[in-house]
């Protein structure tokens, strides 16, 4: 698998993507991208659009503020996954 696992979790629904190539997130100081092997980080998110690009598709979500927990650094022996915690999310068609 070339990508990583991404989970977008809200109190009302959850999405899980495997083999994610790139995710664009609205950070408090501007948009940033997450590729495989990103440094382990915990970052606050503001309202905006999250774009998820997997090997097969690209999906956009409009989201509330939240937090992203990135566990992708191969230097650490922790599960390779990115978790986005949000209060609300809507898929943009």
């Amino acid at each position: 698998m070339n990508g990583y696992t991404l989970e977008i979790i809200t109190p009302l629904k959850s999405y899980k993507f495997s083999d994610v190539v790139h995710t664009l997130c609205p950070g408090e100081s501007g948009y940033f991208g997450i590729l495989k092997n990103h440094t382990n980080s915990i970052i606050n998110l503001k309202e905006g659009v999250i774009s998820v690009k997997t090997a097969k598709e690209k999906i956009d979500f409009s989201c509330s503020s939240g937090i992203v927990d990135i566990n992708s650094d191969p230097a650490d022996d922790i599960e390779d996954r990115v978790v986005v915690l949000l209060e609300d999310i809507q898929e943009v068609k």
């Binding site: 109190p11 009302l12 959850s14 980080s41 915990i42 970052i43 937090i67 650490d76 915690l85 209060e87």
Partner: protein, 285 residues
Amino acid sequence: MANLKNLSERIKSVTSIQQVTKAMKMVAAAKVKKAQEKMEISRPYSHNTQELICRILPQVSPLDITLVEKREVKNFGLIVITSDRGFAGSFNSSVIRLAEKEISRLGKDNVKLFCLGKKSSEYFSKRKYNVKEKYFDFWRDMSFQTASEISQSFINAFEAQEVDEVHVIYNRFKTLSSQELVIEKVLPVDFTSNYNVKNYNYDYEPGQKQIVSKLIPKHIKVQMWQQLLESYSSEEAARMIAMDNATENAKEIIKDLKLEFNKARQAAITTEMLEIVGGAEALVD
């Protein structure tokens, strides 16, 4: 004949009550299932939020985060979760009884109440308790937003030092036939027993303190959401059982009334026959 008519009307009325209680039981069963599904969906959010807080919090001074700050307790906040409607057995009365017990233990003047549901709001307002906030008529269209608003009200009270500790009393769903009445501490939040001491190297943006300060209210809100769902499931389960009992009782009453009706009808027939025979004998004479 008047007795027969009266009995027949009573049978009809109890039968229609039985139909209503049967329908209410079925509606309650469907609502329990829906609330259970919502509770299941919210669990990963709750788990991940708590896990993240437990990972970061040991690296931050507790004095920097208001919502974990332990202070001398002078004023208590008590969240009492009841329903808006009755017909649910002892669901509401048991919550109110425990709340009253707690209030008398802590002192009536030291407790500020946050009443959720019409039953507790009316009960405590009428008796001149110190009701700080009342929320009702939200159960039917309850959303996560409702839980957020309620949580924000007691978070604000805690931050403004109007209350030094907040507890919640509600019915926790165990099975369809049993609910557990619980009292839990909500504020200040205590994660010490769950701390993840394994410290990985993370980059934080903007900083650990800001992230935890944002995460803890989210955690409290999702806890509130789950407690509301637990209480709602328990209410509907209690209603389901109450309505099942009512349906069974109605069945018994109908059985007794039918027996009484048949006896009365038989007595009327016997009387009529005796009258006919008596009349015929009088004609022969």
